[in-house]
């Protein structure tokens, strides 16, 4: 029952400790991880968005530069000059020397006829009339035209830029083919890590640059359709069962859409590492808390049990001494009530005895009988008186006399008293005294009474043939001396041991012991500020240990 109570308490303490330390730890870890995760993801997405914007700006810049180049060329040269293919060739060479991105240069009149051409496909393109081409109408309408990427005759991805110039009352067009390598290059700078991709699509969702994983130029990209995107943005999308991050940017000049694609597992690797680390630290913390809780709880339980044992012992002592006090009062009361009638009986008997000595009564035949009877009465009054006086002695609350006492000497005197009795019963009394036992301040005659009581009991317990060992010493703290009186008698069972200091408890035959010896000893030692303990092993013997303060 006791151990069940302790086990429940153990669990209570453990669970409370654990819940009050593990839960906050887990919540703290979770919240920090969540916050970190949110801000890290936001940062990753933000950086993707910024990259997309940067790429778009670069492309816009590049296109604007090319347009500006062509526009300034067209506006500074007259149609007459540029119509001359030699002159055009010289101009083309100058442009080429500054920027390798121009593949060819052509001058077209408002009828769509190729007036002059410089470039690798002279024979094929010189005769072409562009009157019906879409771009021709566009440029005639808006003045500037940038085409989507196409393969054309050359089978390499390129696009054209055309600007229209009005000279006097006629319009003409300067048209240039631009290698889209540069744009590819700008876009490919955004290929990040091992799985990052970046590409440009037009409004029909056709690739304008080749994607790293998502397809070739002029094909549909292997990605969700972003062709309708109108502004920069980032989103996380599920594509073919794969969770991917997409950032989109708008190339303003062409309304192309630049798409940056990232694998979140790659981008968020530090986050996953943080998650792993957090879990590891959390787990370590939980293990540490459990170990700590087990140790603390064990220490607490140990202390608790020790305290409870101590309390039980002191409760028992308190009970014993209050029992003693109550019994002492009762004993005193009984003794008083008996002593008065006893005194009367004694006096009456004495009076009868006196009368028996008188002449007339002395002649009675039954004189002897009467004398015997009176003597018996007197004898038993004395016997009863011994009991009541011992009872009163037990109850006595007298200030003990104080003197400097050598306990070894007191013990020797006590042994002298009982030596004859012991020798007669063939009991050997061994002494094992501490030679430098300090003198103590106590009441010698009372202490002696206790020693006589206990040694006498030991002799009675042994009966015949045995040994009594008396050992003296000081306790570890040196503030008490100890006297150990052991016999090798039959010992006592536990129920007897518990009652041994109770008044009137005796194991001796009726009339041989009053049952007061040990209880008187107990109260004497207690009054002198000491303690008396008993230990008994049935069949092996009994040991009384008396502790007295040195003071």
């Amino acid at each position: 029952m006791e151990s069940q109570h302790y086990r429940k308490l153990w669990w209570d303490i453990m669970l409370t400790t654990l819940s009050f330390s593990v839960f906050p730890l887990l919540i703290l870890g979770g919240v920090i991880y969540h916050q970190f995760s949110v801000s890290y993801t936001a940062k990753v997405m933000d950086s993707m968005k910024t990259r997309a914007e940067n790429r778009c700006n670069s492309i816009d810049l590049f296109l604007n530069e090319r347009i500006a180049q062509l526009t300034s060329l067209a506006n500074t040269q007259s149609l007459g000059q540029l119509k001359n293919e030699d002159y055009l060739h010289r101009v083309f060479n100058i442009i080429q020397s500054r920027s390798r991105s121009f593949l060819d240069l052509g001058v077209i009149d408002e009828e769509g006829n190729h007036l002059a051409y410089v470039g690798p496909y002279y024979s094929a393109l010189k005769k072409v009339n562009y009157k019906d081409a879409t771009w021709f109408h566009e440029v005639m309408a808006t003045g500037v035209y940038v085409s989507d990427v196409f393969l054309g005759f050359r089978k390499i991805p390129h696009f054209i830029i055309a600007v229209m110039v009005r000279e006097k009352n006629q319009s003409w067009i300067l048209r240039a083919t631009i290698d889209s390598d540069i744009i590819e290059h700008i876009v490919q700078l955004a290929w990040d890590g091992k799985y990052g991709d970046a590409f440009i699509i037009n409004r029909e969702n056709i690739l304008q640059t080749s994607a790293r994983f998502g397809g070739k130029v002029m094909e549909q990209p292997n990605a969700p359709n972003f062709s309708a995107a109108t502004k920069n943005g980032v989103e996380e999308l599920d594509f073919h069962g794969k969770n991917l991050l997409f950032a989109t940017g708008i190339v303003k000049l062409k309304k192309w859409v630049l798409v940056i694609q990232e694998d979140p597992t790659e981008q968020l690797t530090p986050l996953l590492q943080a998650r792993f680390l957090a879990a590891l630290i959390g787990l370590g913390g939980v293990v540490l808390i459990i170990i700590g809780a087990v140790f603390t709880t064990r220490a607490m339980m140990k202390e608790l049990m020790r305290m409870e044992r101590k309390k039980a012992a002191s409760d028992e002592m308190l009970m014993q001494s209050s029992k003693m006090a109550a019994l002492g009062k009762m004993a005193a009361g009984i003794a008083h009530e008996i002593n008065n009638p006893l005194a009367v009986i004694g006096e009456k008997a004495g009076w009868i005895k006196d009368l028996l000595g008188m002449e007339d009564v002395a002649k009675s035949e039954n004189l002897q009988e009467l004398a015997d009877a009176v003597n018996k009465i007197e004898y038993h009054v004395v016997r009863a008186k011994t009991v009541t006086h011992r009872l009163l002695g037990f109850a006595r609350r007298m200030e003990p006399l104080t003197e400097r006492v050598n306990i070894n000497t007191v013990l020797d005197e006590s042994i002298d008293f009982l030596e004859n009795e012991a020798r007669y019963r063939n009991i050997d009394i061994q002494t094992n005294y501490a030679p430098s036992l300090p003198l103590i301040t106590t009441d010698q005659s009372q202490v002696q009474q206790v020693f006589l009581n206990i040694i006498n009991n030991a002799i009675d317990a042994i009966g015949k043939d045995g040994e009594i060992t008396i050992t003296t010493g000081t306790t570890r703290k040196n503030n008490e001396i100890s006297v150990e009186i052991s016999d090798n008698g039959p010992g006592m069972p536990k129920d007897v041991l518990q009652k041994i200091f109770d008044p009137f408890f005796t194991t001796k035959e009726v009339g041989k012991g009053t049952g007061l010896g040990l209880s008187i000893s107990y109260s004497i030692i207690e009054k002198l500020g000491g303690r008396i303990l008993v230990a008994s092993d049935e069949g092996k013997g009994t040991t009384f240990t008396i502790y007295l303060p040195v003071r």
């Binding site: 008065n340 005194a343 006096e347 009456k348 004495g350 009076w351 006595r396």
Partner: protein, 129 residues
Amino acid sequence: MEKFKILIVDDEQDFLETIIKRLKARSIDVTGVESGYKTLEVLDDRNPDVIILDVKMPGMDGIETLREVKKKKPLVEVIMLTGHASVESGIQGMQLGAFDYVMKPVALDELLEKVRQAYERKLIQEGKS
């Protein structure tokens, strides 16, 4: 024939009667009273040498009686007698000038021996004064 006069004070009638009879049988000049008040009444009249005084009595108890007696006759010796373990009152009595303290029941011879000692002391004290 003893020369001293004894006054016995005890509320226990049977005890008082018997002990007086026994002492008288020994030709001792003895008187008995059963209370403290009576003691003070008969004190001048009887002029005892030794008073045997029961500690515990109804009304005026032994200690009070002792105090009054010592006020009136400081040289009278008093032996306190009690059936009770009231050692405190015994000691108090001794402090108030009682000669000794005897616990009931006591053998008559022992008591007489104490009375003789008390009387001797009284003679010595009187000799001094």
